[in-house]
Amino acid sequence: MSDMIGKGILVQGLCKSYGNKPVLWDLNLEVNWGEILVLFGANGAGKTTLLRILSTQARADSGTIQVAGYNAKRQHQNIRQNVGVVAHQSLMYEDMTARENLMFYAKMYRIDDIKLSVEEVLVRVGLESRADDRLRTLSHGMKKRLAIARATLHDPKVLILDEPEAGLDEVSTVNLGNLLYEWVQKGKAVLMTTHNIDIGTNWANRVAILSNGAINEIDSIKVEDIKRKLYGNSMRPDVNYD
């Protein structure tokens, strides 16, 4: 796509502390256009914090952050228009139907043809049959699929996904993988975190690990290498770490 400026995601020297406790420091990260970067990290390493900063849900203390070519400090509204987010919280209203939720967010993102976009996205995640049921009545996996629908509704250039495959069944997981693959085929960028090393290595163009407040990139996408980096020398050969 010709209107892609800069890189998908570009981070240099990011620092973030909560109170006086540093969580991320001197963090560098790049996600190119047309690429899926999968981020691993132990619980509490700061993955969610990083994602929240990139999606403008939180502010970094210092550092250069560009998402979709826009500067996070000065052009945050541009970033929001061009980023689709799947977070830990559902970000949607339990007492409204799937369709109502999507239509609401379509208005928030100022989409031109609301009905069309909403229908498209419902079909893409396979929820047309349950579109008029209240969110309360949907299963966890369906809510996750709806979250993915919400994230792609406004055709953003960058997808930021926090454990999107968690709780999905086989079919839906495969669908998600296909969706992401098609996404980057169009030249867009995806940053995804997961605890599932198999899925992560299957889907990724590049892999990185967040630990000690910064990113370490890995040369190979071999599962054993990643496990070793994550769990270090304390790994026991007989235990399945997945």
């Binding site: 939180a58 509204q77 929001r80 228009q81 977070a87 559902s90 970000l91 209203y93 109502e100 967010y105």
Partner: protein
Amino acid sequence: MLTMTNNFHVFAAILSKDILLDFRGRDIIFSVPIFGILLILLFNFALDVTPDMVDDLAPGILWVSFAFSGVLTMNRSFVREKEQGGLEGLLISPISRDIIFFGKAASNFLFMILVEFVLLLALAVMLGFLVTSWVLVLTIVLTTIGFATLGTLFSAIAVETRSREVMLPVLFFPLIIPILIGAVEVTSEVIGGTSGAVARWLPLIGIFDALFLIICPWLFSAIIQE
């Protein structure tokens, strides 16, 4: 992209979403008016209201009930957002925080007006306090605007603190005392009390509203995100 009509559509969408959820959720739509009626009941017994005292006491009872019901309304609104992650969803959308504030304040305002109407009816029935006056309507609208403006800002803060049920009243009540006094005085005059109250207090309430309608959205934008 960021045209006036565009902003209005976003505002209208937030407002109608909130109203829809209020009715569907069935939590505040019943509980708040009932709470208000219970308050009037308590006042009736606690103050030992006899028919000749009604005109003296009714304005105070009315406005205290309005204030407490307002607090309940506004508390619920943000709790719902927080529990379901709705607020985060709004914050990562490309909409200005001012619009979020006005949308929420407007929905709080409308709901409070609805409850106040119910409580007026209740007061008419239970205490025989019946007033039909445009001045009273204007006062109720203006004062409720003040409640909604400050209350929406404070409930956004309170919902993030522990002890959130107490935090909102503690923040809200001291600051709305001026318009509370004004509203009670005007209500008293409307039913035949001292004159001159309207001319003195309505402008005060108006200025209060104007002032905080400017300050509160700015503060909301500044504090709503880390």
